[in-house]
């Protein structure tokens, strides 16, 4: 009897959970923007295929070209899972990731595009991302999925589920290794306008969430896990950016030679057991990061500098993903010819030396590379620069 009562109690919890989620409104339009997305679905399945799917999903600092006209309906998957990664020479920790790296992949869409987003919480699963998809398919039982089921789709040797998976295969600078740390997670896209208690819902390990959002506003927006402690989840690595290119473009589009994405963020790490580092909550609470980095790694933008030539125009979508600090972004030797705050084409400024960004602010900046040589990207808050927030743009001679 007691046991039956327990089951009943649990079923009631579930039923309560189902009924308290509000059904979403019908789709409607204001000022040409689309609101009222269908209700998110949460389900359990045995998916163990590619963890990152999407034609315009890339690895930092790359940005996919939008080779389509008008608007498109994107199918994007970013699974959340654990990877042990290198964030500085000799510093490795078990990161909570979207797609296997910190920050997660760059998603590129156009203003007005619709995105059907899927995320499985695979934090309780060994997920391999440093093998090409074709090999993953051939080694069926090593894919880390719990089911051992056959995978029903076909991928040929050259095809990847996303440019990101190909890029990480070619350049795995974090030397990612799969790991397990089962935790609840969620996804919060700043680029979406929806009810967070529906779309940004927390899902348990093994669950998948799927929802739609429309890129109503142009700009560069962070995404992050919103599950409490949000400080812990973001500091552990769950953040990335979506670049929403304006429908009408920026006025300099036809004069741009290079377009990159750079993300600043903080790590709060201390030596744990063995050689592995772990989250330092005391440091996180006191906003005393161990590392402040560009694109997730203390030296990556020096080891693999951005490239340009003298006389060229470089555009950088720069986002400060925090979680807690400001950034004073500057490029040594250059002046920002144009700055669009948050990446919105209406927020234009000219001739800026430094752009001040709070946590989760971004700017799209452009500068003209004056001469052959080295240009240092830097957080001009020098304590942060000396914790790693620097990078190099290496300029060749004028063509």
């Amino acid at each position: 009897m007691k046991r039956f009562m327990n089951y009943l109690a649990v079923m009631l919890f579930i039923a309560t959970g189902l009924t308290t989620v509000q059904a979403q409104t019908q789709e409607y339009t204001i000022d040409g923007m689309i609101f009222g997305m269908p209700e998110a679905t949460v389900f359990t399945d045995d998916y163990d295929g590619p963890p990152v799917v999407g034609d315009y999903v890339t690895m930092l600092p790359k940005l996919a070209k939008l080779d389509y006209e008008g608007n498109r309906h994107h199918q994007v998957r970013l699974d959340t899972f654990v990877q042990e990664i290198e964030v500085a020479e000799g510093v490795r920790y078990r990161a909570w990731t979207f797609g296997g790296m910190v920050p997660g992949p760059v998603i590129h869409v156009r203003e007005g595009d619709r995105i059907t987003f899927t995320m499985k919480n695979r934090s309780d699963e060994m997920v391999q991302i440093n093998e090409p998809v074709s090999e993953l398919l051939m080694n069926g039982e090593n894919t880390g999925g719990p089911s051992g089921l056959d995978i029903s789709y076909e991928v040929n040797e050259e095809e990847f589920a996303s440019p990101y998976l190909k890029q990480i295969r070619e350049n795995n600078y974090m030397n990612t290794q799969p790991s397990i740390m089962p935790m609840p997670h969620s996804m919060d896209f700043h680029s979406g306008t929806v009810a967070k208690d529906d779309k940004w819902r927390t899902i348990a390990p093994g669950e998948t969430i799927q929802f739609d959002w429309v890129a109503n506003y142009p700009g560069t927006y962070i995404y992050h896990c919103g599950t409490p402690s949000v400080l812990m989840h973001t500091a552990m690595g769950q953040h990335g950016v979506v670049v929403v290119s304006p429908k009408e473009g920026y006025e300099t589009d036809d004069r741009i030679d290079h377009e990159y994405v750079v993300v600043q963020s903080e790590y709060y790490l201390k030596k744990g057991a063995g050689d592995i580092y772990q989250y330092d909550f005391e440091a996180a609470q006191n906003i005393n990061p161990s590392h402040v980095v560009f694109n997730g790694h203390q030296t990556i933008l020096h080891d693999q500098p951005l490239k340009a030539n003298a006389g060229e125009r470089v555009r950088i979508h720069f986002s400060n993903n925090g979680p807690s600090q400001t950034s004073s972004f500057h490029v040594i030797g250059a002046i920002f010819d144009r700055v669009w705050m948050e990446g919105h084409p209406d927020n234009e400024m000219k001739g800026m030396q430094t752009v001040l960004l709070g946590a989760s602010n971004s700017a799209t900046v452009e500068f003209i590379v004056p001469e052959e040589g080295k240009y240092i990207l830097i957080d001009h808050e020098f304590a942060d620069a000396e914790k790693g927030a620097t990078g190099t743009l290496s300029a060749g001679p004028r063509q």
Binding site: K2, N6, A9, V10, T16, Y93, D188, P205, M232, G272
Partner: protein, 258 residues
Amino acid sequence: MLRNIIHIILICAASLSAAAAGTAQNRGIIEIPAGSYHSVLPEVVGEPVQVAAFRLDETAVTNAEFLEFLKVNPEWTRSEIPPVFAGSSYLEQWQDDLQLQDDRNGNEPVTRVSWFAANAYCGWKGGRLPTLHEWEYAAQAMDFTSAKEADRFSYELIGWYSAVDAEKTGLTGSTGIENRYGVKDLFGLVMEWVEDFKPPVGEDISLDCGTVGRMKGDSSIYSYAMSIRFITRMSFDPASTTGMLGFRCAYDPLPPVN
């Protein structure tokens, strides 16, 4: 003084009761006296939660113990459990229904068990899962010599919550963490099922960025660590089976001896 004497009596009673149960296990069942603690849930703001006396397993249930249960209750083995009662990774550390994988140890806590399976096991043992309040009350019966020591412990605890190695849990009893009654590994080994892991109030709190700020009963680090625990538990589904989730059983108090 009186309280100390009561404690000693209770501890004696605990060891007696373990002996009386006469099961072939090397761990005891520990008496937890009635008392109160401060929850981070907002249901009773500022008021401590009263908890009646109960008994609690000294350590988490091990693989070896769970195997005994499976032998006589085959409906809970991997091949027979209905999918509504457990996720697909249920008992993944077992090679087959009644055999652990070679690299796993019988004295590790059993993990990848659903709430349903944990609940059934405890019923079979003549007990039940502890309630959320019982578990938290027992877990927080820690004697720290100073607030500073409590903070230090809590910082470590939060670090652990971010870095549990679900592939290599230690053996039960190995953490060295013990509450004032002798209950072991409530922290530092695995997280544990409780009977009402998803309290109704959880829906109101909702799991979002601001939740920790609203949950913290006070500004202590200890309270922060507790919030993380509550939040993680609330996200589980009763069929959840993860590598960091095990359980121990609770029991009603023994009837008084005349």
